[in-house]
Amino acid sequence: MDIPYTVQPRPDTGVYNAKVGMWLFLASEVMLFGGLFSSYILLRVAAAPGTWPTGWLSVPLGTINTLILALSAVTTLLAWASCKARMFDRYKLFMGLTLVLALVFISIKGYEYSDKLRHYEVVLKDGRIADGHLVTRNDKEVVLEGRYVQNHAELMNGRASHGKPHEEIRIETPQIQKIGNYGPAHNTFTAIYFVLTGLHGLHILGGIVVFAYLWGPGSRMWKTEPERFTNRIEVAGLFWHFVDLVWIFLFPVLYLT
């Protein structure tokens, strides 16, 4: 069976079917991420004054990831343009670069996640709070590389200089009232942060799988149906640009404001 309009544009829409399908999918994605962004707005506006954290995420890493994703969007486009210009070796190069950049992005994101999951807040029975990265934890004690604060308000502004150098803190287990890392269950901010970036990360992983296929076994189509293959690269690229667009808003919302 021959599937119509995979190469030539449909006369009534003016575009080939896969492109219409991708744009309709992206429209649904806009509403998916829109719902989560509106949740973020509601949670942030409803937070009591001084309780919404700022500066908890690494701006240099976020900036590097923004530039990496923007560069990968360009290499995706150049991969498609290479197909248009009938330069298959260039296509392989640019698609390979896109894959590498996507892997770097997800690796940096993974590092950020692991950093948050190693970051602990320990509430002591005397009311003090120890905040820092976990060194070791056993039945007898917890060792952190961090500092003591008197209350949560001191932890809310990550950009404010606290003037206390980080030191090794040893806390005996009987002294601990509550202990937890900066994972999704820590507070509302980390919950929405992990949900938004986690969903975005899943899209990145999906893109990596598709690009790896189009770079590897899927590229065999170039020999038999180059136009159809070029169209596949275009719609995959559209998805990738959308993923870049989402990050363009996630970065300032979560890292900078």
């Binding site: 544009p9 829409t13 003016g14 575009v15 492109k19 219409v20 744009w23 309709l24 429209a27 806009v30 509403m31 829109g34 719902g35 962004f37 509106s38 949740s39 707005i41 509601l42 506006v45 409803a46 701006v59 900036t63 923004t66 530039l67 923007a70 560069l71 969007a73 360009v74 486009l77 150049l78 343009a81 290479s82 248009k84 210009a85 009938r86 330069m87 260039r90 559209l238 640009h241 959308f242 870049d244 667009l245 363009i248 808003f249 970065f251 300032p252 919302v253 900078l256 404001t257």
Partner: protein
């Protein structure tokens, strides 16, 4: 890019490089703005999100080719924009929908 000539590819690659440069500059300006001593928080957030909108416009217009798309695609996007605006509008409306205290 409709031309299949290698020279057209070079010109297109140059254009893509310019777009990336612009996105990188706006991103760095956005980061710098977030560290600038702007005391009005709403203005600071507005400036940062404004820069994000410029980046989004660059990506959507040139990298997604929305600057020269077919009517069908624009139609899909107009409906998306209407629903997205409604979604955000309802969120902001709901955020301000608090009971009024009598006598105030």
């Amino acid at each position: 890019m409709s031309d299949t000539h290698p020279d057209a590819f070079k010109a297109y690659a140059r254009k893509c490089g310019i777009i990336f440069g612009a996105v990188a500059c706006v991103t760095l300006a956005m980061v710098a703005t977030s560290f600038a001593p702007i005391h009005n928080r709403a203005v600071a957030i507005g400036l940062v999100l404004g820069a994000a909108c410029i980046n989004a416009t660059l990506v959507a217009s040139y990298l997604m080719h929305l600057i020269s798309e077919k009517k069908m695609i624009y139609t899909v996007l107009v409906f998306t924009a209407i629903f997205f605006t409604g979604l955000m509008g309802l969120s902001i409306w709901a955020a301000h929908d608090v009971p009024r205290v009598l006598g105030r």
